[in-house]
């Protein structure tokens, strides 16, 4: 009995090793991105090897998770979806009741590992929306839209309450993209946007003071040269002084002289822009566009609505990371704690991103099996 199990698992592991079922163009692009990330981190951390090594280890863990998830057929994922979604929402509620974390309650301590349940929703949210829409007539009408909206709003509200506006935003976006891709009529989208514009002044009222400050600082960063404004001013100086060709690797004075805060995490893009200039920035953006395009291609190839919507939503959320982070460091958008995917230092986001790519790889690998 045990022997059989052992053989079965050995067989599985061996076949995973021989046929990893990964999409090579996507994998290549991701590895390139991670390489750029590590190189930038090495410079931004002032040649601190230990940070680079620990980030590389997290990438390894993420890649391993990606390979494992790539083996799980989308049909299995689909069957698990409601349970995974429910479990992650329950965990969120637990965190709201008694979480721990510095300043904000985001972390759940499981003795062995501490993790943020909100991170799980980056995957389970698009999965749930895809699962729900998969069973509904498309394009969705108001009722389907309302139900999907509720599926998004509940966890998003819990996360925003933590308060973690950046993650809430990413999760709302991933769900919204699912709805968008399912073919929601343009006039309905227009109506929603108009309603949203009406709600903004009300929402402003409910923001925390520090969140309001971030938006206000954005409008006039020089007014607060010691607090929030400092980040934006210093980041813009870093980016702008980089010029067309950049100052060269490890020659960025802004980060080395510690004028730039959080220069290994949220503001690592500024370091990159300072050292590699506009040319580097445009190449990096092109790399992101390539990854998103490849992912959307995989989504279009999928033969089942669930897989399509899920893959599409994950691909498009990647764009939100890049846009919000890039917008922040150039002073276009408020300071919201969103990392630059696979470049910013930090474990949880790297692992959850790579897990998402694992789902895409799985959809890619099973595209033929899924014919209706």
């Amino acid at each position: 009995m045990i022997d059989e199990l052992f053989h079965e698992w050995r067989h599985r592991l061996m076949s995973m090793w021989r046929k990893p079922r990964l999409d090579l163009p996507l994998l290549g692009a991701l590895l390139l991105l991670m390489g750029i990330g590590l190189a930038t981190l090495y410079s931004a951390s002032d040649l601190d090897r230990s940070q680079v090594i620990s980030q590389a280890l997290r990438f390894m863990l993420g890649l391993l998770l990606m390979t494992v998830i790539a083996r799980v057929p989308p049909l299995t994922l689909r069957n698990w979806t409601p349970w995974l979604y429910a479990a992650s929402v329950v965990l969120l509620v637990i965190v709201v009741i008694h979480g721990e974390g510095r300043g904000a309650n985001r972390w759940l301590d499981l003795r062995i590992v501490r993790f943020q349940p909100s991170e799980l929703l980056k995957l389970t949210m698009p999965m749930m929306i895809a699962w729900y829409l998969n069973g509904r007539p498309l394009p969705p009408g108001w009722i389907t839209l309302g139900a999907a909206g509720a599926l998004i709003a509940v966890p998003a509200a819990l996360i925003a309450k933590q308060p973690d506006l950046g993650t809430a935003l990413l999760i709302v976006a991933s769900g919204a993209f699912g709805i968008f891709l399912s073919g929601l009529a343009w006039w309905r989208i227009g109506a929603l946007l108009a309603a949203f514009a009406g709600v903004v002044p009300v929402a402003w009222h409910f923001l925390h003071d520090y969140q309001k400050n971030r938006v206000l600082t954005l409008l006039d960063p020089e007014a607060d040269p010691l607090g929030n404004g400092w980040h934006i001013i210093q980041s813009k100086i870093a980016v702008g002084s980089g010029g067309l060709w950049g100052k060269g690797w490890h020659h960025g004075t802004q980060s080395r002289l510690e004028f730039l805060p959080e220069h290994t995490t949220d503001f690592i893009f500024s370091v990159f822009a300072e050292e590699w200039g506009l040319v580097g920035v445009l190449l990096l953006l092109a790399l992101y566009i390539f990854i998103i395009a490849r992912c959307l291609w995989i989504a279009a190839e999928a033969k089942d609505t669930y897989a399509r919507l899920l893959a599409g939503a994950i691909s498009m959320s990647l764009f939100v990371y890049v846009m919000v982070n890039g917008g922040m460091i150039t002073g276009m958008l408020p300071v919201v704690g969103v990392p630059l995917p696979l470049v910013s230092y930090g474990g949880t986001s790297a692992v959850s991103l790579l897990a998402g790519f694992g789902v895409l790889m799985s959809i890619h690998a099973h595209r033929k099996v899924l014919a209706n």
Partner: protein, 639 residues
């Protein structure tokens, strides 16, 4: 039903799910989405090129000029005074030893050599290493605080041997009255990891200390002030060059004036002669706390710059728990001090008239039960009315009254006086004690309530637990003929050195908790008899004002057992003893409570301490009364 309707409406597009249609729809949408994404990222690229090409020269220049550091200037922390302007917390100039790691070649060796000139403990080194991590290598990091003059002199002679080590002046918090105010004023301490998450980084840039306990913590926002900054030019090594280029001065924090009278506080602490316990004195007319002590105490100055681990361990391990704030978190069985409140409840709820009597035989039984509830005097105290029952502390009167009242009305009435809830004083971490009730017992033990528990609640025993502050608040409310005032410490603030001292506006008036004034008079008469002829007789000897009081002697072991012998054999220090009082009895200007953790009886141990507190309060009060008469009798102005 709803399902079908939505189908019909959506049927305008397609009657049922259609895979091919959905796939085509998805492809169109994916393309549209991709185009939007590309457009947005192109916009982002344009933004980058605007910053990096168009404004490159400007930002390049600013990057070069980023040799100008903006350095925060910490505001001076507000001072804390007592009601008469006696300084309780001040900022004193001191000197510390700082090391600039960048300029030192071999840090451990330098620290070791430095230790031969100026004593440096392992704690100091540990703290230095922890602090260094959060600083840049060109910034000075303190290794020794509060150098003595001798140490400064010794170091100055050897200064040449220590490049990168400097003596630097700074302001440090000091509590001149030390132990007396450790549990009220509290102390500040270094900002630690936990504080960092709560404090605004901008406001606290340059600030090293933050209020940790007491007034220092509660009024942190008032005391801290506003940060300022100066711009200084630095060279490539981050060394400042020349004068600051620009400066915005910091705004000092507000000075606070507390309602506490430091002389009364001192006398109160002295009256305890080191015995563990707590005392509170409140002005019943306003709720201002005049004195509050928790004995034993500790020296808050030890905590300001990080307490040495040996000292801290000693404080933690001490048997009489000096770090415990008994005022806010001490738990005492209130015992007989509750009898005036229970008696008042009987009158207010219409269960007794003042002249109703009860026969005390020494034992009380719940009808149909055999368990005896005892009186203090074997054989009983005969037939007593309310006044005598309070004066002689006759248990039977209150046993039967509580039983008639029932636990629901009982706890309902007692909560009017704030039992079982925090008083809302302006200090952090107040406990709420326990007011026994059916709901409380169900929540705590998931058990039903028994009538016997109502009986012993009548004499303040059983589950009932109060904090000294709660008791003081209740007595103060009683002294004010039922008008409650939230006890508070902050009396006035001063914004700026020469600014006017602004008294805080009085809190909005609250509803009187006693419905009939005559009921109050009967209870007050009983409390006066306590001092004249009852359990605490003689305690008012020679005192010019009439005193109303009540003793409390709570068993640590229940008296409801059938064995008398265990009680008579018990050692002297087996009781928690209490005394509550207010004076002048008709128009109280002070309410006092004293709680001792160990003693023979309330009358024997706690009442004399209360008398000493009143004696210390008296001269000031007489002076104020005289001034008022001389000043033309303004009526009830503040003392």
């Amino acid at each position: 039903m709803r399902m079908r309707r939505s189908r019909v409406r959506e049927g305008r597009y397609k009657p049922l799910k259609e895979a091919r249609h959905e796939e085509a729809l998805f492809r169109r949408r994916a393309l549209a989405g991709f185009l939007i994404i590309v457009a947005c990222l192109v916009a982002l690229g344009v933004r980058f090129s605007f910053l990096q090409i168009e404004r490159h020269d400007e930002f390049s220049a600013r990057s070069e000029a980023n040799r100008v550091l903006t350095r925060p200037l910490a505001p001076a922390r507000g001072l804390i005074y007592d009601r008469n302007g006696v300084l309780l917390a001040e900022n004193v100039a001191a000197f510390r030893l700082e090391i600039t790691p960048e300029q030192v070649h071999d840090l451990p060796a330098t620290i070791a050599r430095l230790g031969e000139v100026v004593p440096i403990s392992d704690d100091d080194v540990e703290r230095f290493n922890a602090l260094r991590k959060s600083k840049r290598s060109y910034e000075g990091t303190p290794i020794r605080l509060k150098l003595s003059e001798e140490e400064i002199a010794k170091f100055s002679v050897n200064r040449w041997a220590f490049p990168g080590v400097d003596v630097v002046p700074y302001l440090t918090r000091s509590y001149p009255l030390g132990e007396e105010f450790a549990h009220t004023v509290g102390y500040v301490g270094r900002i630690d990891e936990a504080d960092l998450g709560k404090l605004d980084k901008g406001d606290y840039a340059g600030t090293t200390h933050v209020g940790k306990t007491g007034i220092e913590r509660y009024y942190e926002d008032r005391l801290h002030g506003e940060v300022g900054y100066e711009k200084i030019e630095v060279n490539a090594d981050h060394r400042p060059i020349g004068e600051p280029l620009g400066r915005v001065a910091p705004k000092p924090g507000e000075n606070l004036y507390l309602s506490i009278d430091a002389r009364l506080q001192e006398a109160t602490e002295a009256a305890f002669e080191g015995r563990a316990g707590a005392a509170v004195a409140i002005d019943p007319r306003t709720g201002e706390v005049l004195a509050m002590v928790s004995v034993p105490s500790f020296d808050p100055n030890l905590f300001v710059n990080g307490i040495a681990s040996v000292d801290y361990a000693a404080l933690l391990d001490a048997e009489d728990k000096p770090l415990l704030n008994r005022l806010l978190r001490g738990n005492y069985a209130p015992g007989s001090t509750m009898k005036p409140f229970v008696g008042l409840g009987g009158l207010e709820l219409g269960l007794r008239r003042p002249e109703d009597t009860v026969l005390s035989t020494g034992e009380f039984f719940i009808p149909g039960q055999s368990r005896a509830y005892r009186d203090d005097v074997r054989g009983g105290q005969g037939r007593v009315d309310l006044v005598q029952a309070i004066a002689k502390s006759v248990n039977t009167y209150f046993y039967s009254l509580a039983l008639d009242m029932g636990i629901d009305r009982f706890s309902g009435f007692m909560s009017r006086f704030g039992f079982g809830q925090p008083t809302g004083i302006d200090l952090m971490g107040e406990g709420s004690g326990v007011l026994p009730s059916r709901e409380w017992k169900r929540g705590r033990f998931n058990q039903a309530w028994y009538p016997g528990e109502t009986v012993i609640a009548g004499i303040g025993q059983g589950y009932w637990v109060v904090t000294p502050l709660q008791l003081a608040n209740a007595v103060s409310t009683l002294a004010a003929r039922g008008v409650p005032h939230t006890p508070h410490l902050l009396r006035a603030v001063q914004r700026g050195v020469d600014a006017r001292i602004e008294p805080l506006p009085p809190a909005p008036p609250r509803k009187n908790v006693i419905e009939r004034a005559a009921n109050w008079a009967s209870v007050q008469q009983g409390m006066q008899e306590v001092v004249r002829s009852g359990t605490a007789r003689g305690i008012d000897a020679g005192f010019p004002y009439p005193i109303a009081g009540k003793t409390g002697t709570a068993e640590r072991y229940s008296r409801t057992g059938t064995e008398w012998t265990s009680i008579s054999a018990s050692p002297i220090e087996r009781h928690q003893v209490l005394f509550e009082a207010f004076t002048p009895a008709d128009d109280a200007r002070i309410a006092v409570i004293v709680a001792l953790e160990a003693g023979r009886s309330g009358a024997h141990d706690a009442a004399p301490i209360a008398r000493k507190i009143l004696d210390a309060w008296l001269p000031g009060d007489q002076q104020r009364q005289a001034e008022r008469v001389a000043g033309g009798g303004e009526g009830a102005a503040s003392p």
